[in-house]
């Protein structure tokens, strides 16, 4: 481990120098707003309804973020690289209804008055999960793997 930790230190120093040199230029880079300037109603969102689809700086096309059914199903691909953009509209608590360390209430029950939301585990999931869990356990692992599994360990031991 010794030689590699030395080269790591060297690498870190070079990175630091680069960072210092870049500092002046960083100040010129734009910020996204902390909060989306326009408050949106609940329900489906189409960015291109209000935004012309022109591409600006390192911002991706607005159309890519239209909340179509497929965007919602696949939002993990967007959240990983555009967290700051999502945060302009979404408080973390919005995500935490489904993504959390520990909870006792199904997202679809906490939001029981919103059948229009795309919530996982509707209906009798305790039965269904015995099939779904065998089908695609990797998808369950995302939320129950290292978190939110107090419920599971009661039976799965």
């Amino acid at each position: 481990m010794r030689p590699s930790s030395q080269s790591l230190t060297l690498l870190a120093l070079v990175a630091l120098l680069f960072a210092l040199a870049a500092c002046a230029q960083i100040k010129a880079l734009p910020n996204l707003p902390a909060n989306h300037p326009e408050e949106l109603a609940s329900g489906p969102v189409s960015c291109t309804e209000c935004h012309e689809d022109q591409q600006k700086g390192t911002l991706k096309q607005y159309a890519a973020f239209n909340h179509s059914r497929s965007f919602i199903t696949n939002h993990r691909f967007y959240a990983g690289s555009d967290d700051v953009l999502c945060a302009t509209c979404h408080k973390v608590s919005f995500c935490a209804d489904c993504h959390t360390n520990q909870t006792e209430i199904k997202p679809s029950v906490k939001n029981g008055s919103r059948p229009d939301r795309v919530m996982p585990h509707r209906g009798d999931y305790l039965t269904l999960h015995k099939i779904e869990g065998k089908l695609d356990p990797a998808s369950c692992h995302r939320c129950h793997g290292r978190a939110n599994n107090e419920r599971c360990v009661v039976c799965h031991r």
């Binding site: 960083i26 100040k27 109603a41 489906p44 600006k56 696949n74 059948p115 229009d116 939110n148 009661v154």
Partner: protein, 449 residues
């Protein structure tokens, strides 16, 4: 439990109290749920469950020089009748609680406290600090470090299987809005040894590296990919690819492919690394794959039609899911309805009890409607799973879920839900809940809204 509450209190008093006093803008959001149900399953002691759960969220923006903000979410539950969720009559958890500083440029920000990290392939919850910033020439960097947020102990062991310290980060490069590549890694300190013999050789420390990619050569096409390697086993853990094509303005077509090496992906999860099938022996696979596609078409501003297909390949068998959904939004969002049908065709190996004449196939039928006006909101949801072969003597699992509520004031809403279920575990399952949501914006001086 005491630890959780004291932490909750500590963060609340640390972050929230001064926040309320100095913030120019804050948002308090509380939801109180009183649930009611009776457990009358055969073979289980009859009990009445009456848990009251309070979620408390607070976001205080524009603290100090206007760039500092505080964010807290936690919940607590008290059982007013029999014990509901676990052995604790009262329980609670701090979901997150952190201070955030947003610098004036480059989307640079720093966080301290308990927060979630979503950076490329990384998804973690940390008690610690994090920083991120865009860099010149399209580069970007983020890093986090601190203590892991521990979870419930796995019964029969003394831990949840997580190491105590964690750090990681991501560097990325963007070319305009067209191309992005990110490299990320996470390193958790050594995982505790777990006594469970099922975990022997399959469980260890959480150390993963990986890459994420976004490539959109022109507006109508985007390719996204994720791939990660478990450095403890030195093997691929996960690969995922998503291709999105928009041939027409209102049509989105996707294709996806995922490959999972289960033993490498589940390696640091004390629950999933063992996952011994309770009924059919151990069926933890190694190679699992899914591929599929979907098409969503916005027929007009009112109707969205989606069709989807997915194929699953595991070592134990194969399965296909096919279905469609229609959603309708009328009169300025005030009325929304939808209906969907899906069929899962799977081999007997996916059945709850994988015997020779069993089946894991089922039809899923769902229809729902809701109305939301200034004064009241109401919804009804019907969902029925029709099993191809009976499960515990039942042909289907039906749930009717209704909800009715009032906006008492613009900030205060009271609603009640009632659900009826008839399923393999309960013949008649009636559940109810009362929900009180209070959401209040406190605008300080200098704020225009």
């Amino acid at each position: 439990m005491k630890k959780v509450l004291s932490r909750l209190l500590a963060s609340l008093s640390l972050a929230a109290l001064p926040a309320a006093a100095y913030a120019a803008d804050s948002l308090v959001d509380t939801t109180t749920l009183l649930r009611f149900s009776q457990d009358s399953r055969p073979g289980v002691a009859k009990s009445t469950l009456l848990p009251a759960t309070v979620f408390l969220g607070l976001d205080a923006d524009k603290l100090a020089d206007g760039k500092l903000s505080a964010h807290v979410l936690g919940w607590g539950r008290a059982d007013l009748a029999d014990k509901s969720f676990n052995e604790n009559q009262v329980d609670g958890s701090l979901t997150y609680g952190y201070l955030q500083y947003r610098f004036g440029a480059a989307n640079a920000q720093a966080r301290a406290g308990r927060f979630f990290v979503h950076e490329g392939i990384l998804n973690e919850q940390v008690d610690g600090v994090s920083v991120r910033s865009d860099l010149p020439y399209g580069f970007g960097v983020s890093a986090f470090g601190g203590a892991t947020v521990h979870n419930v102990r796995i019964p029969g062991t003394s831990s949840d299987g997580k190491g105590d310290g964690i750090f990681g980060g991501r560097v990325n490069y963007r070319y305009g809005g067209m191309f992005e590549i990110g490299l990320a890694g996470v390193y958790e300190t050594v995982a505790p040894t777990m006594a469970d013999p099922n975990l022997a050789g399959r469980f260890g420390s959480h150390r993963v590296i990986g890459a994420d990619l976004w490539y959109s050569p022109f507006a109508k096409v985007a390719l996204m990919a994720r791939a990660s390697i478990n450095t403890e086993t030195s093997r691929w853990a996960e690969q995922g690819y998503l291709l999105t094509v928009k041939p027409l303005k209102d049509l989105t077509v996707t294709g996806e492919f995922n490959d999972y090496q289960d033993r490498d992906l589940f390696y640091s999860s004390a629950l999933f690394a063992a996952m011994p099938s309770m009924l059919s022996g151990n069926n933890l696979n190694q190679q699992s794959r899914t591929f599929g596609g979907s098409a969503s078409y916005q027929l007009n501003p009112k109707f969205e039609l989606t069709g989807d297909y997915k194929h699953y390949t595991r070592e134990i068998g194969k399965a296909d899911r096919l279905g469609a959904e229609l959603r309708c939004t009328l009169s300025d969002l005030a009325v929304r309805t939808g209906a969907g049908y899906h069929y899962l065709r799977s081999s007997a190996d996916f059945a709850v009890l994988p015997t020779l004449d069993a089946s894991g196939s089922f039809h899923e039928l769902r229809a729902w409607a809701m109305r939301d006006t200034k004064s009241y909101f109401a919804s009804l949801d019907v969902i029925d799973y029709l099993f191809k072969r009976e499960i515990d003597g039942k042909k289907n699992a039906l749930e009717l879920y209704g909800s009715l509520g009032y906006h008492l004031t613009p900030n205060l809403a009271l609603s009640g839900d009632l659900s009826y279920g008839s399923n393999p575990q309960n013949t008649d399952e009636l559940k109810g809940l009362i929900r009180l949501n209070y959401s209040m914006k406190l605008a300080g001086k200098g704020d225009t809204k």
